[in-house]
Amino acid sequence: MSEHLSTPKNPDAFRRRGFSGERLIRYFFASNAGLTILIFVLIIAFLLKEGLGFFPSYKRELEIYRITGMEYVDISRNNLTSHEQLVSVLNRAYYAEINGQADRELQRTKESAAIYTAMDEFGAALRDQYFTAIDSNSQELAVAESIKQKYSTLMPLSVKNLPASPNLTREERQAIIDTMLTRSIEIEDTPDLVAVMASEYATARQKFAAPLTANRALIDEFDASAGELSKRVSEMTKKVILTKDALAKADIIERDRKTLLAAAASAKTLEERDRLTKDAEAAIAEVPDVAAPMAELMHARSECASIHQELAAKVQELSAKLAFSYQQPEAKKLSSVATRALPIYLSELQQAPQLLEKWDSHLPVNLSAAIRSFLTGKNWITGGEWQDFYGILPLLIGSLMIAVVALIIGIPAGVGAAIYTNQFASAREQKIIKPVIEFIQAIPSVVLGFIGIFVLGNALRELSTVEALSWFPGFPMEERLNIFTAGCLLALMSIPTIFSLSEDAINNVPSAYSEASEALGASKLQTTFKVVIPAAFSGILAAILLGFGRVIGETMVVLLVAGNRIKIPDFSSGIGAFFQPAHTMTGIIAQELGEVPIGSVHYRALFVVGIFLFTIVLCVNAIAHRYSNKMKH
């Protein structure tokens, strides 16, 4: 009994106060579980910390854009750009027509020149040495001679890698090669035959250009009509840039002053504080004069408007005549682009005077304007001298279009494969199908992107150039890397997700359902499509949503394969819009984050894109989980 007395009456006394090892271990594990919450909160906190500063800075940028009058100048500038683009399209159509007719001569010139250049470049290094040798005052004539020797022995080697020449006859090709081989090292002129072909081409061009002189004159007239506008815009631009630079400079000085003041506040010694404060006081920027240049701009407002009116009248007069009829397909296409764009341009021109009159530099820019400009902006223009714009629309649309392509392919494939594997396939088939599809999931996305660039891009493009498919809108593809190519690869990435989750959903349908259906005399097909699939429907929907979440958040494939052109695709060509390159939200972050200065507006804009992406994916996943929770039988 005495032994019992020697032990404490209540051995748990320590434990109750929370000192027990068991409890500590428990807290240790609990804190590790809490780590997930911490990470999640940190992600949100740091995205917001870096991202939220974007809107005030962007608002300031937009404010400068307005008070300096850049916005005002942009009305005219945009019209000028449209005009120049139109001229360029018209010119391209004109030359495409001529070159298309003179195609044979063009090819012959190109090929002969290519052969000549290849051989010439081969010997170029030696020829340079030779000339240096004979230039340096005759001492090295022996060297020059040896170089000459070397040249003649080496030149035959150049024949090895010459470009093909399907449009030249064998004799012509040989003639060029022979001229090049036999001639001496000093001669640098183009061989006669090449020159002859060039002149043949020139004559052919002249011949085909002759019936088009009227067109040429019209295009030139159209081009010249914007001369006044162009002059005015460049004058205004110069003035406005000066004001902008002054403002930006003042902002920087102001920021430096604030840093100095902050440093002064935390300075250790009194003298240091005094010195820093003095520096800060000395650094007060003089407020740049915005009003005077603005008054000047406004003074010329009516002149600018009348320039626009005159131009509009001129364009209206010309627009009917500018609809040329060409024969060559390339020229036809370009010409139709121009005829479609002309009325749009004209209406913009006609509205311009009104816009110019209405514009007011004193309208305040508030925060909501910055937010609106981000959410609905159609331009993502960065790193320019003029004005940066951060509009998410082109990126969002790019991401969504790629996701749409991926899902259009991925849903039937993934769900179909899941139905087949679960309902119809034999056990042996399942053993092949499941590991292969699981393996697709394990392929790293960068490898898929690599395949997209080197294999799929070329294959799809070649497919699109097949004559029999030319009726398809958007064919032949202009770019190898485009929305469709990226979508195909992402479909491959989404298939395993959709497949395995839908398969699970179908598998989770209680067997009693199908047994009951079979007992009532339904065929296998009826049971599958009328009983099992409807029962698994919400699970399949969840699978599709999760697949969408995976596709929209995918980075490497779209960065490599989507083409990275920051522009809203041109929807006027219908489905063809899916064959244009685009940029995506994930791609822009991956591409630009490494290059921007930390803390700049651009840097913060990328974080805001990240917040946007994060929100979309979280919402999609939340809906998906809600659906999959419904699936409890």
Binding site: L154, L525, G553, L593
Partner: protein, 375 residues
């Protein structure tokens, strides 16, 4: 032959043709996916295998795996013979043969030599990330499976895991960049000017400064670990739950504490399952590019991570090359030509081989485990 179905139904059912058509359609879809997957894999194998394997013994091109990455120089010599030499050998050639012995010189970045740098970098990143994630992930899973009762805390944890699993990898890149590269605390002699907060700790002249680890191996490991944590937790919890409840009950009935039970009667049986599932997580960590782009990876580096360091711990704060990032560089930054193909397809082939090896390994291990651990 008469099947059971025919015996019961007597005669062929209606819609026989529709039935066949549907089956054909569905199986067509399924097998076309399989074929596409095999074709892609086949293409990489056909184009990449020649880089890695040779026809002579030992049949593996060891130098591709053990040489450093270099710029490739392609040129003809005076007899018209084509040479392809990596930068170091090219310089040697220049010194022995002289400048003028070279014609048609072209150079291709990243295409010469081998890929030992990226392989080593990926291995280091993967090991680091998996160790961190296993430690925290298994601990969290033990809490969820062994200690948890329904509580708001557990609910929040599960919600966080569910949401973390869906976060896009590029968002993890942003997170890693803003937290591990720019914000986590370090102990340093002179805090950088961009520090968020710094205070002296009165040991020597050291400061604790929230200025981040810069782009470094440890920042990359930490980012990848955060990304993979939900996968590890879910897999570990599953393995822990698979251990029969009887084991715990018996142990507790014998008077063992909760921790003793976990250590002796639960973890040993769950561990094989946990490790097998984390093999799948390894393939994911090794394959991710977006999270390490800004936190750890660098396109070109002359030294291996441990070369030229005075202190072995500096390896943690050095940048590394990584295989997926190397492939991205090869795909995006250099043109495709007959001379770069070797490096491009070779790297992808080695990478894919690694991934396939690990994922098939985990599949086989999982199947073995299932047949062995049956209670």
């Amino acid at each position: 032959m008469i099947t059971e179905e025919q015996l019961i139904r007597k005669g062929t059912p209606k819609g026989r043709r529709l039935d066949l058509l549907t089956r054909a359609l569905l199986s067509g879809i399924t097998y076309s996916i399989v074929v596409v997957a095999l074709l892609l894999f086949g293409k990489i194998v056909v184009d990449g295998a020649p880089t890695l394997f040779t026809t002579k013994a030992p049949f593996i091109n060891i130098s591709f795996l053990t040489d450093k990455n270099e710029t490739l120089h392609v040129f003809d010599d005076s007899s018209g013979k084509l040479h392809q030499l990596p930068a170091s050998k090219y310089n040697e050639y220049l010194t022995t043969h002289g400048e003028d012995a070279i014609y048609n010189h072209q150079s291709f970045s990243y295409s010469g030599g081998g890929i030992v740098g990226p392989i080593v970098g990926t291995v280091l990143l993967t090991i680091g990330a998996i160790l961190i994630a296993l430690f925290f992930g298994v601990s969290a899973a033990i809490y969820l499976s062994e200690y948890s009762k329904q509580s708001p805390f557990i609910h929040a944890v599960r919600l966080a895991i569910l949401n973390l699993a869906g976060v896009p990898s590029i968002v993890f890149g942003l997170f890693g960049f803003s937290v591990f590269v720019l914000a986590v605390p370090v102990i340093t002699l002179d805090p950088s000017s961009r520090t968020l907060l710094s205070f002296p700790i009165f040991i020597g002249d050291y400061f604790v400064s929230f200025q981040g680890w810069n782009s470094s191996l440890m920042a990359g490991c930490a980012t990848l670990a955060c990304m993979i944590l939900p996968v590890i937790i879910t897999a570990s919890e599953e393995s822990l739950k698979a251990v029969p409840q009887g084991f715990r009950d018996a142990s507790l009935a014998m008077g063992a504490t909760r921790w003793q039970t976990i250590r002796k009667c639960v973890l040993p049986y769950a561990l094989p399952g946990i490790l097998t599932s984390s093999l799948l997580a390894i393939t994911r960590v090794a394959g991710e590019t977006a999270p390490i782009m800004f936190t750890a990876a660098v396109a070109a580096k002359d030294d291996l991570p441990w070369e030229g360091l005075s202190n072995p711990f500096d390896i943690l704060s050095s940048q590394v090359q990584a295989l997926p990032y190397h492939i991205y560089t090869l795909a995006a930054r250099i043109p495709n030509s007959e001379f770069t193909q070797r490096a491009q397809y070779g790297s992808v082939f080695v990478f894919l081989l690694l991934v396939a090896f690990m994922s098939f390994g985990s599949m086989i291990l999982r199947a073995k485990l299932r047949s062995r651990l049956k209670w």
